[in-house]
Amino acid sequence: MRTRNILDGFIPIIAFAVIWEGIAWLHIVPEYIFPSFSAVMREFYHLTVNGVLLNNLASSLFRVLAGFLLGSVAGIMMGTVMGCRQIINRSFNPIFTLLYPIPTLGWAPLLMIWIGINEMLPIILIFLCSFFPVLYNTITGIRSVDDDVIKAAKTLGASDRKILTSVILPLAVPNIFTGLRLEAGMAWRVVIAAEMVAIPTGIGALLIRSESLLRVDIIIVCLMVLSVMCLVFERFFQYIETKMTKEWR
């Protein structure tokens, strides 16, 4: 049944590739503007074999993982403290409420001046992009835990710390993972934008170089890789969330 579902998902993609190949084969537009699917796949193979694609992907992946990990951990920790302690929430919430609506890439010019154009720039941008949504989802998750459940744990002898680790955080997991899942895809979008603007390595940089060389086939390869990476990240968190909560939700 599962194999059947996967096959069902691939059929439209295969149909799309066939139609794409057919349109390119008609040569309505020049191949350098609209390459065929097979030409793109050939380029994908070349870029993979000569290491260009993998090197750039590794650079982007490192930035995404570093920024996302730091931003998520910070968001979960701060969200936990703000969700549990009203006074800390009241102190920080006004500041975060002002900072959250700023588009992540809006920080780029300021960060370029403050930290320069180096490896830290995309990492900090991804940190900012991950931090706020994970923070607010964590706070929401913690606040949504039923008060009576917390009281029940207290009457059974659990300390505040034990209640946090054994009741509140496990029950906040679905909300926390919603934040992580949404931002996993967003982190890739931000790293590509940052690399296109300022960084000479990574998938974003490869994209912008390909544009200057009018290599539409490489651009499409990069977009495909980006699409797959976003999907893999989102599905990864979905899988972990399901694994952790499917028994009781």
């Binding site: 039923d146 009576d148 459940v149 009281k151 029940a152 744990a153 207290k154 009457t155 059974l156 002898g157 659990a158 300390s159 034990k162 054994s166 009741v167 496990p170 029950l171 909560t245 028994e247 009781w248 939700r249």
Partner: protein, 240 residues
């Protein structure tokens, strides 16, 4: 099990409440919505702030936090931990109190047997019926060998047949274990079936304390009336 005294309790509901709950008795607290019944339980459990004194066997527990009072609390919505299976729900109290793994398993087995829910051991709360959830919640409350058992309208979500059956079982278990118990309800039939004594609370004050045996003897008509009229319970009691 302790004798519980509440002396001159004051907070946002009570204005100088005095009350005594005797060792091993099942005291029923009746009253309409907003009368302060649940607040009374929360005070005994140390879950809300108050002025005055709560004494367990003559010893003040005012400075004792909830987690140290050894109180078994059955909440109205039962408040089972949804992310833990039945065995883990029951074993939660002993586990957080530092019991060894073997003794937790032994205690869980005992309570599963006592509640006749051995077959539910690995189920999660979402997969339990109302009555099953009730038994699990009671087993969880008993797992820490509480000094006092507090029951906050625990039968309100059950259908009548199930309700009566669970009441009798709780009564049997309470008498068997000899736990001082306070049951909050607004259902007079439930109060009559369960209680050794009945306290009516209204507007944050104890209006009357009734000994059921005395009521049966002296006011059979009122008692019959009360069974059919939960809304006027307090007025009827005041006659006694």
């Amino acid at each position: 099990m302790p004798d519980i005294e509440l002396k001159n309790i004051r907070n946002y509901v009570f204005n100088g409440l005095n009350m005594e709950i005797f060792d091993k008795e099942l005291l029923v607290v009746i009253g309409q919505n907003g009368a302060g019944k649940s607040t009374l339980l929360n005070i005994i459990a140390g879950l809300v702030e108050y002025e005055g004194s709560v004494l367990f066997d003559g010893v003040s527990v005012n400075r004792m936090l909830t987690d140290k009072r050894r109180v078994g609390y059955l909440f109205q919505n039962l408040a089972l931990f949804p992310h833990l299976d039945v065995a883990s729900n029951i074993g939660y109290g002993p586990a957080v109190n530092g019991s060894r793994r073997e003794s937790i398993a032994k205690r869980v087995d005992e309570l599963l047997r006592l509640m006749k829910i051995e077959h539910l051991r690995d189920r999660y709360p979402k997969n339990l019926s109302g009555g099953e959830r009730q038994r699990v919640a009671l087993a969880r409350a008993l797992a820490v060998s509480p000094q006092v058992l507090l029951l906050d309208e625990p039968f309100s979500s059950l259908d009548t047949g199930m309700c009566s059956c669970i009441r009798q079982e709780i009564k049997r278990i309470q008498k068997g274990l000899g736990i001082t118990t306070v049951l909050v309800t607004h259902d007079m039939a439930e109060a009559k079936e369960m209680g050794d004594r009945i306290v009516a609370i209204n507007g944050g004050e104890v209006r009357e304390v009734a000994d059921l045996q005395r009521m049966y003897r002296n006011y059979p008509d009122d008692l019959h009336h009360l069974q059919n009229c939960t809304g006027c319970a307090i007025e009827c009691y005041c006659k006694g």
